[in-house]
């Protein structure tokens, strides 16, 4: 499968009063055509910031992309001006993003029609008649019933799940190559989550696009993602196919995450095993492995050597760890 987006050593930092927050500290990943990948990690690990960095949507006074390359369509996106016309033409039409909160993602003073057609008129140059027709088609595709009349309604007349569907329709309206879904289901209930994820999978298959699901919910990516990247404290600590990550996790963090999830096939009274400790302060990062204080497998080497580089432990399966956790389990 062809690679459509490559991120090399992306580093994004925020300068705040207390110091320099290294939100993204050198991550590299790639996205193939027509693929669904999952980016997993807890709150504050840098998943959303890395996605915003790709689109150059970081607010530049406190934030700054200090290093790295984002290669898309043969160009390094980070070399383009953030507010320039070229970058703006890529956003929305080649790489689209949907956000976590459906309740606030739509402009309350504009009709759905206006918000759908704006992208079409802006990027594809359609006139208002054609874009309205296309907008209604898209609404039907995402499952909004009575689309011809609903298209003139305002966001507050839709429920959260429906608004998220409208967001998906808007994002896909210009046939982007990549759709980035930033915690798309965190704010919805479980049944709506399932519907939205199925819808997203359907849509990207139909539009031949790739999907990046950013989430802290392993269950969401287990079913849909083909490859998964696990992030911790601004770096990728494990990456691989879904089967490998879930079947044979190697990094102590991933192992810990999977242990946190209750299983259907075990005793009801098994105690839940959380990962002890807290995520590190991103301003005062230690030189060695950031997971060390919480790691139950650690050895002497972990305390002395710097944060481990990713090394290959299986087919396309990379881990940033000095220990072979397989033998310890």
């Amino acid at each position: 499968m062809a690679v459509i987006l490559t991120v090399e050593n992306l580093k994004t930092q925020f300068r705040i009063e207390g110091g320099l927050v290294k939100a993204v500290d050198g991550i590299s990943f790639h996205i193939n055509e027509r693929e669904i990948i999952g980016l997993v990690g807890e709150s504050g690990c840098g998943k959303s910031v890395s996605m915003l960095s790709i689109m150059q949507l970081i607010s530049t006074p406190p934030g700054e992309i200090v290093d790295g390359k984002v290669i898309f369509d043969g160009k390094d996106l980070l070399k383009l001006e953030a507010k320039g016309a070229e970058m703006r033409s890529i956003r929305g039409s080649k790489i689209a993003m949907i956000f976590q909160e459906p309740m606030t993602s739509l402009n309350p003073t504009l009709t759905i029609c206006r918000q759908l057609t704006e992208m079409l008129e802006l990027h594809l140059g359609m006139d208002s008649q054609a874009s309205r027709k296309r907008g209604i088609e898209l609404l039907k595709l995402v499952g909004i019933s009575d689309a011809e009349t609903r298209v003139d309604d305002y966001p507050h007349q839709f429920s959260g799940g429906m608004r998220q569907r409208v967001m998906i329709a808007t994002a896909l309206s210009c046939n982007p190559r990549i759709l980035i879904a930033d915690e798309p289901t965190t704010a919805t209930d479980v049944t709506t989550q399932a519907q939205l994820l199925e819808l997203m999978k359907d849509m990207v298959t139909r539009f031949n696009a790739s999907l990046v699901i950013v989430t802290h919910n392993l269950g969401v990516v287990a079913r849909y993602a083909q490859r998964i990247y696990v992030m911790y404290a601004g770096r990728i600590v494990e990456s691989g196919n879904s089967k490998d990550i879930f079947g044979a996790p190697r990094h102590p963090y991933t192992i810990g995450l999977l242990k946190c999830v209750p299983r259907l096939d075990e005793a009801l009274d098994r105690k839940l095993v959380p990962i002890p400790g807290m995520p590190p302060n991103l301003i005062r990062m230690p030189p060695n492995c950031a997971f060390l204080p919480r790691c139950q497998y650690h050895i002497e080497r972990c305390m002395q050597e710097p944060w481990p580089e990713l090394r290959e432990v299986g087919n396309q399966h990379y881990v940033s760890c000095y220990i072979n956790t397989q033998e310890k389990q």
Binding site: R91, A96, F99, N107, L122
Partner: protein, 298 residues
């Protein structure tokens, strides 16, 4: 197969839709007090437009032989110290009031909103320059500011409008700046930028519509204040000087005769009161009618 007792098709018909205009009409005219306000405004505008045909006398014509008459058949509201008919002056005064109100508001709102939008959206140096300038301007009481500007430029209608506009820009800029700062944080603004919207599109098509409501309320509050501010200026000798018929200056002129000829002050005074009330009610109604969130109620 037996037919179901309730035909399926009865439930597949969508409820009747109403258009935006119908919705607006329903919302705006739902309260009788808003309608009263609108009627007063319409009467005032009608009077202002058709003043020459409605006024029984020339408002500037002095009749020194019949000064300070009480209301009588010939002069329904009496005459002032120089024998000019009060009723005619009140009618012509509506012109000045409307002119000052709309002209000053128009200039101030447009300039103020654009400045506020830029300051709030771009932040940094731009915001610093604009807002500190506005802060300095605002630290001078508006009447004093208008006084200084009007005395530099000279009195007269045009200069009063300029003088009042400069002072009125400040609250609009401030409000707009604050609104933009909070609207900017919303997810949908980020979503717009993620769709490739440029700065100007984001500012004018997305942030601005969300800022309208408080601005409309502010406009209606300011309009009454402007009429009063003009009166203050006239009192201090700058501004619309007699013989120009303006309600504010009429109230001040008639003040000295309050005990003997109350109509001289009360007539224009009541007009000011009615107009301010009318603007406030209409502004209220507009705000409720334009709020997309309250649409469900109508």
């Amino acid at each position: 197969m037996t037919q179901p007792s309730i035909a399926i098709k009865d439930f597949t018909v969508a409820p009747p839709r109403i258009t935006s205009w119908q919705r607006f009409r329903r919302a705006f005219f739902s309260r009788w007090i808003v309608i009263i306000g609108l009627v007063i405004l319409l009467v005032m505008m009608f009077t202002a437009i058709f003043a020459p045909w409605l006024a029984p006398y020339d408002p500037y014509k002095q009749d020194l032989s019949s000064p300070l008459l009480q209301p009588c058949k010939a002069h329904l509201l009496g005459t002032d110290g120089l024998g000019r008919d009060t009723l005619s002056r009140v009618i012509y005064g509506s012109r000045t009031a409307l002119l000052i109100g709309f002209a000053v508001t128009g200039v101030a709102v447009i300039v103020g909103m654009v400045l506020g939008l830029c300051a709030g959206y771009f932040g940094g140096v731009v915001s610093m320059f604009i807002m500190r300038f506005i802060d300095a301007l605002m630290s001078i009481p508006m009447i004093l500011l208008a006084l200084v500007i009007a005395s530099v430029l000279g009195g007269g209608l045009k200069n009063v409008i300029i003088a009042l506009s400069i002072g009125t820009i400040c609250p609009y800029t401030r409000i707009m700046n604050g609104l933009v700062l909070s609207i900017k944080q919303n997810d949908y603004i980020l979503a717009e930028r993620a769709m490739g919207a440029s700065d100007s599109r984001t500012m004018f098509s997305h942030i601005l519509p969300n800022a309208f409501q408080p601005i409309i309320v502010m406009i209606t509050m300011q309009l009454g204040f402007l009429i009063l501010a003009e009166a203050g200026l006239s009192f201090l000798g700058i501004g619309i000087e007699p013989p120009f018929a303006a309600w504010g200056s009429m109230v001040n002129d008639g003040y000295q005769y309050l005990m003997t000829n109350p109509a001289l002050s009360f007539a224009p005074g009541i007009c000011i009161m009615l107009v301010v009330f009318a603007f406030n009610m209409v502004g209220d109604g507009l705000r409720d009618a334009l709020d997309p969130r309250l649409r469900g109620m109508f």
